[in-house]
């Protein structure tokens, strides 16, 4: 299924990945999963792996405060999505669908976003998920499409809170999906795309 879906990538894409060089086990596991994605993409997907150590300038340049982190830039080079975990389990589907749009497939929400872009202020949308959450993939997909269609105005952060428990604790989360936009009141559960757009227009 992964090969079939990655086969739908249109133009080649490269993602930046930051991993922990000191933690050999995690580093090897991460590299092995990323390799699997690359090998199934017929050369269309490439990960630029950046092993981090305390002397690495990338830490500062890309403001990396945790690993692994995957960064996606849109066609204009704007950073639009960060994954704070390597997509596994139910996170694989929205990750690949985001790659498909990143590689040129048409974004369902782009038209409406462009119409409203002048009224949306620069926003960071944090989407808290877990691998077993049935509603999360659809929400991740939606927010990712919003980010990709916003010409850099919207940045999405996809956070697996079981992999990043400090973030879950910071927001005191006991339910997913859980969305925070610009640190305002959270949106809980599977929200509709028009609700997300309305919230962005309010912010």
């Amino acid at each position: 299924m992964i090969r079939q879906e990655l086969g739908k990538l249109q133009k080649p894409i490269t993602l930046k990945v930051f991993i922990d060089k000191k933690n050999d086990l995690e580093s090897k596991e991460t590299s092995s999963i990323l390799k699997m994605y690359e090998e199934n993409s017929e050369g269309k997907l490439r990960f630029e792996i950046n092993p981090l150590n305390e002397y690495n300038n990338s830490l500062y340049k890309y403001q990396i405060d945790r690993v692994p982190t995957i960064i996606m830039n849109d066609a204009e080079g704007n950073e639009c999505i960060r994954y704070f975990a390597i997509p596994q389990g139910s996170e694989v589907k929205p990750f690949i669908q985001t790659l498909q749009i990143l590689s040129g497939r048409k974004n369902y929400f782009e038209e409406a976003l462009k119409e409203n872009l002048s009224n949306i202020k620069a926003s960071i949308i944090k989407v808290m998920v877990t691998k077993s959450c049935a509603y999360c993939p659809e929400l991740v997909n939606m927010v990712s499409q919003f980010a990709l269609g916003s010409s850099g105005k919207i940045k999405a952060e996809i956070i697996d809170i079981l992999e990043n428990p400090d973030i879950g604790n910071m927001y005191d989360i006991v339910t997913v999906p859980y969305i925070v936009i610009n640190n305002s009141d959270p949106l809980i559960g599977l929200i509709k795309p028009n609700e997300l757009l309305e919230r962005l227009l309010e912010n």
Binding site: Q4, Y108, N141
Partner: protein, 314 residues
């Protein structure tokens, strides 16, 4: 994997059939419609429907045991093999225009000669003080989503259905203790699941009891029973059934019954020619994935006949 972008979607085209919904009923119908060479599109708000939140399904024939999500992945694979387009959006209004229907969402408009409403149902709420206040802060409607946050904690499941029993069994795997709080005196679950509940060493059933309030400070701390007693819990999982998601039907004049279920006949037809309904949103007596799929398939046959009789020239 489902298509969620605009690839393969033609907004100018009048589809033979647009299926509203993202669960097994919707996909079952679309698979048959596609095999009838109908131009079919699915527009679903929640891919997978409620069954995707079920941690284990053991009564879908030919599949011994699978997670709800796993079952829907198989549906997806089948749907994708037929290249059936799927859009993740919610249709808010249907209007009849000449010989076809127009379906409006906040983002796009679609056209179809026939429509299947398979929008399923949404979780029923208790409607007691504290439920809304602590939603997402200890009150949950999805054990597979939120269960992992309650490792070694004490939770309660409200309800006595098969779904409630299965939620309790799932939660019991990681929590310290699960209370099932049920207003009746005998669980309505499948006997196999009742047996599992009774054999579990960390599930306790409290019969003939309602909870009247959920109390906490920032997070859930306890529930109050109708006899005045208090039970300290960290989480409250509400599993008291669901209500049909039929608003879209009512807006276009489709008849519903006193339970808000869409009235259908044995051909899955509603009172409006060209609009069909099936699954949990319809007034069929059994609300199971397998019966929903069957009703969806019947709707596909009926929609095919309906469109064929229109003698459309493409």
């Amino acid at each position: 994997m489902f298509n969620i972008d605009m690839e393969g979607i033609d907004l100018e085209k009048i589809y033979d059939l647009i299926v509203l919904g993202g669960g097994p009923t919707a996909i079952g119908c679309a698979i048959y419609a596609k095999r009838f060479a109908m131009e079919v599109l699915i527009v679903g708000k929640t891919y997978g429907g409620l069954i995707a939140t079920t941690h284990i399904v053991e009564n879908y024939p030919a599949i011994t045991s699978i997670s709800g999500q796993g079952l829907m992945d198989m549906f997806k694979e089948h749907m994708d093999s037929l290249e059936i387009p799927y859009i993740s959006d919610e249709i808010s209004r249907i209007t009849k225009v000449n010989d076809h229907f127009e379906l409006h969402s906040f983002f796009q408009n679609f056209k179809a000669y026939s429509v299947l409403i398979a929008t399923g149902s949404i979780r029923r709420k208790l409607g007691i003080p504290g439920e809304n206040e602590f939603a997402g802060k200890g009150v949950s409607y999805c054990a597979t989503c939120d269960g992992p946050f309650y490792k070694d904690k004490v939770v309660c499941v409200i309800g006595g259905s098969d779904s409630a029993a299965k939620e309790a069994l799932f939660l019991a795997q990681n929590t310290k203790k699960v209370y099932i709080i049920y207003r009746g005196n005998d669980l309505r679950a499948e006997p196999i699941n009742i047996k599992r509940v009774l054999e579990s060493n960390n599930i306790e059933i409290i019969y003939e009891t309602n909870i009247v309030e959920i109390i906490g400070e920032g997070k859930v701390k306890s529930v109050i029973f109708d006899n005045g007693e208090k039970l300290e819990v960290d989480g409250v999982f509400i599993e008291i059934g669901s209500i049909p998601n039929s608003d879209i039907a009512k807006n276009v004049g489709v008849e519903t019954n006193e339970h808000n279920e869409i009235k259908i006949n044995r051909k899955s037809e509603t009172n409006i020619p060209g609009i069909f309904a099936a699954g949990d949103v319809a007034d069929a007596p059994f609300k199971q994935a397998i019966t929903g799929v069957a009703e969806g398939v019947i709707a596909a046959y009926s929609a095919f006949d309906y469109v064929k009789e229109m003698n459309i020239e493409y």
